[in-house]
């Protein structure tokens, strides 16, 4: 046995010293230089595949409020959901963003203690006047935890199409639609060989993409995503983010995320909520770069949340 090796140097953390302040690097291409509140978020260039195309309003909320057993969870929120862009809902836990999302497809109505005020309009039609199954066909939802049904991959994707009609289409007739949906979700290559594989045996990222394919199979106009990547590894996360970018021109997308970096990468417009209030709502560049509200500035720079 040779001489004992020197122990690694001990780094002492001195608590009282002043922290060194690092100037954020200059950003290129944006209009306002963000002096205060500029976070390190903005140093990385934002991935944008192509420029944003034409936008068209699909859904709108007017002073929407949701309360659970009298306690308000969402207070007087007005925003629009446009096709051609991605709306990101950000905010700390418990701020009401998931409740807002779930009210868009009337899923909050399933909770007995919930009550809604204000109105939600889809294509200028009041959501309460529309048949709720028809609404949910048009407004699809992908949940935080992947929830594929205990059936095969084919049956999962074909479920929405099969269970909506009076006639049961044959497997051959369904196959092109299923494959198309899987293709749009980016899963076809991986499951092409065996569509009868039980869905529960796929990996987490594959299951989540399967759920997206399942929602896409019924051709929704709007897609709501409730923290879809929070349970997934980075590779699956990036796959799903690319998927969102590619779907954006055809479908209006709303994504709830507590991951600021993800919102920064993916969203075109951002709504920041805090304790049920819509604090700030605007273009992503503006909300992240030059937030108007102090609270937004604090949240975006990591001050709380």
């Amino acid at each position: 046995m040779g001489p004992l090796k020197k122990p690694p140097p001990v780094r002492r953390i001195v608590v009282d010293e002043e922290p060194t302040i690092v100037e954020p690097p200059k950003r290129n291409g944006t209009t306002e230089a963000a002096k205060s509140g500029a976070s390190g978020l903005l140093s990385a260039p934002r991935k944008r595949e192509g420029k944003r195309g034409k936008v068209r309003e699909r859904m709108r909320t007017d002073a929407l409020g949701v309360a659970y057993a009298g306690k308000p969870a969402v207070k007087a929120v007005s925003l629009t959901v446009n096709q051609g862009e991605v709306l990101g809902l950000i905010g700390p836990s418990g701020c009401g963003k998931t409740t807002l999302l779930r009210s868009l497809n009337r899923l909050v109505d399933q909770t007995p203690t919930a009550s809604r005020s204000g109105s939600i309009l889809i294509d200028d039609q009041d959501v309460d006047l529309l048949d709720v199954t028809e609404l949910r066909r048009q407004v699809g939802m992908v949940f935080q935890q992947p929830n594929p049904f205990p059936m095969s991959v084919f049956d999962n994707v074909a479920y929405g199409i099969r269970e909506r009609g009076s006639r049961r289409p044959s497997r051959a007739a369904l196959r092109p639609a299923v494959e198309e949906a899987l293709d749009r979700a980016g899963l076809l290559e991986e499951v092409k060989d065996n569509l009868s594989h039980p869905a529960l045996r796929l990996s987490g990222g594959q299951q989540q993409r399967l759920c997206i394919a399942r929602s896409l199979a019924v051709n929704p106009e709007v897609l709501l995503l409730d923290e879809p990547c929070s349970a997934l590894d980075p590779r699956s996360t990036s796959l799903i983010e690319e998927l969102i970018m590619s779907l954006r021109s055809e479908i209006a997308i709303v994504i709830v995320t507590h991951n600021l970096q993800q919102a920064y990468r993916v969203a075109d417009r951002v709504a920041f909520m805090y304790l049920g209030d819509l604090v700030e709502y605007g273009d992503a560049d503006q909300v992240f770069g030059a937030p108007k509200a102090k609270r937004t500035r604090e949240y975006v720079s990591g001050g709380f949340g």
């Binding site: 699809g140 929405g160 909506r164 019924v218």
Partner: protein, 336 residues
């Protein structure tokens, strides 16, 4: 005491633990011993009846009138070499199968639909009322069902559903007086449905909320979502409930003996509507009816033969239910 890290020998380390384990094990073995004893004893007593009749005991083609045969056995002379054993029990077996199968099939459909109603469609006040009511119905003793059956349902069938011409048409063969297998199956359905409802409701409620939300948010209406996701996921529980109900139905002796007429007649579907009001005699009810005759040896052995058949069926049902549950569990997430 040497201490070994890593894998240590499992097992009791001291005397009192060992004693306790032995004691508890012995207690557990009492149950096992009782069962084994029961099976062995019953079969041992039943053997003469089977051996004297061979396969004719079960055969549907062997003929013979069960009632007459039972009387003959009861009256058999008291020396062992002259015991009468002749028994063709097919009418009893047929009646048992008929009543049990009818009751279980109707009850399964009824129970699944009612469970779906309770879980999803019932308005809140009705739901709050129904759940204790179902539990109560499950706990009502069978003799009360039998009482209502004999004093109300049989009378109703007799007075309102059986016409004189119907009675005349079978006058030579059987008496249609309301005591029938139809009444028995009807009341049996009412008896076993609440148990099934309780099990199916629990199973429907145990389906993960994520699946329900997932199906509903695809734009599928409530009925379809419930049927294609929840009921499908609850299939093992439905099978288990059906098997439990079948076991209960098979063993129902008291209520059936009160309402089925105790006549060893084989109801014939070709008779048309009268089929439902023809009397019959299931196995378990026969044992109850004839329990006084146990002092006569061959009679007792015949009754034990009936009991042996019931015992085998009950054991068979347990294993069938377990096997089917295992097969259906392949695609579900349930941990059991």
């Amino acid at each position: 005491m040497r201490r070994r890290f890593g894998l240590q020998k499992a097992g009791p380390r001291n005397r009192s633990d060992q004693r306790a384990e032995l004691l508890l094990g012995a207690l557990a073995c009492i149950v096992l011993a009782l069962i084994a004893g029961m099976i062995i004893f019953v079969f041992e007593k039943a053997w003469p009846s089977f051996s004297h009749n061979g396969l004719d005991w079960f055969s549907p083609f062997a003929g013979g009138n069960v009632d007459d045969e039972l009387v003959a056995i009861f009256q058999s002379p008291s020396d062992a070499s002259n015991y009468v054993y002749e028994m063709h029990a097919w009418s009893l077996i047929y009646a048992t199968i008929l009543i049990t199968a009818t009751a279980v099939v109707i009850s399964t459909v009824f129970a699944v639909l009612s469970a779906m109603f309770i879980v999803e469609f019932a308005p809140q006040p009705i739901r709050r009322l129904l759940e204790p009511v179902v539990r109560l119905l499950a706990a009502v003793p069978s003799v009360i069902y039998g009482l209502i059956g004999i004093l109300v349902v049989v009378k109703f069938f007799n007075e309102h559903l059986i016409t004189q011409s119907a009675r005349d048409s079978v006058a030579g063969v059987a008496a249609l007086n309301g005591f029938s297998w139809g009444v028995g199956a009807l009341i049996l359905t009412v008896m076993i449905t609440p148990i099934m409802i309780a099990i199916v409701v629990d199973a429907l409620r145990a389906v993960p909320v994520s699946w329900r939300e997932g199906s509903v948010s695809l734009g599928v209406n409530r009925w379809r979502a419930l049927w294609t996701v929840s009921v499908r996921a609850a299939r093992p529980a439905i099978v288990a409930a059906a098997v439990l109900a079948t076991a209960r139905a098979l063993g129902e002796a008291i209520m059936l003996s009160m309402v089925t007429g105790s006549v060893g007649f084989q109801p014939n579907p070709i008779d048309g509507l009268i089929f439902f009001v023809e009397p019959a005699r299931p196995l378990a009810a026969t044992i109850v009816d004839n329990a006084e005759g146990l002092s006569v040896v061959p009679f007792a052995q015949t009754l034990y033969a009936f009991a042996a058949v019931l015992l085998v069926s009950a054991a068979f049902l347990s294993f069938t239910g377990w096997y089917i549950r295992r097969r259906l569990r392949r695609y579900t997430l349930s941990p059991i």
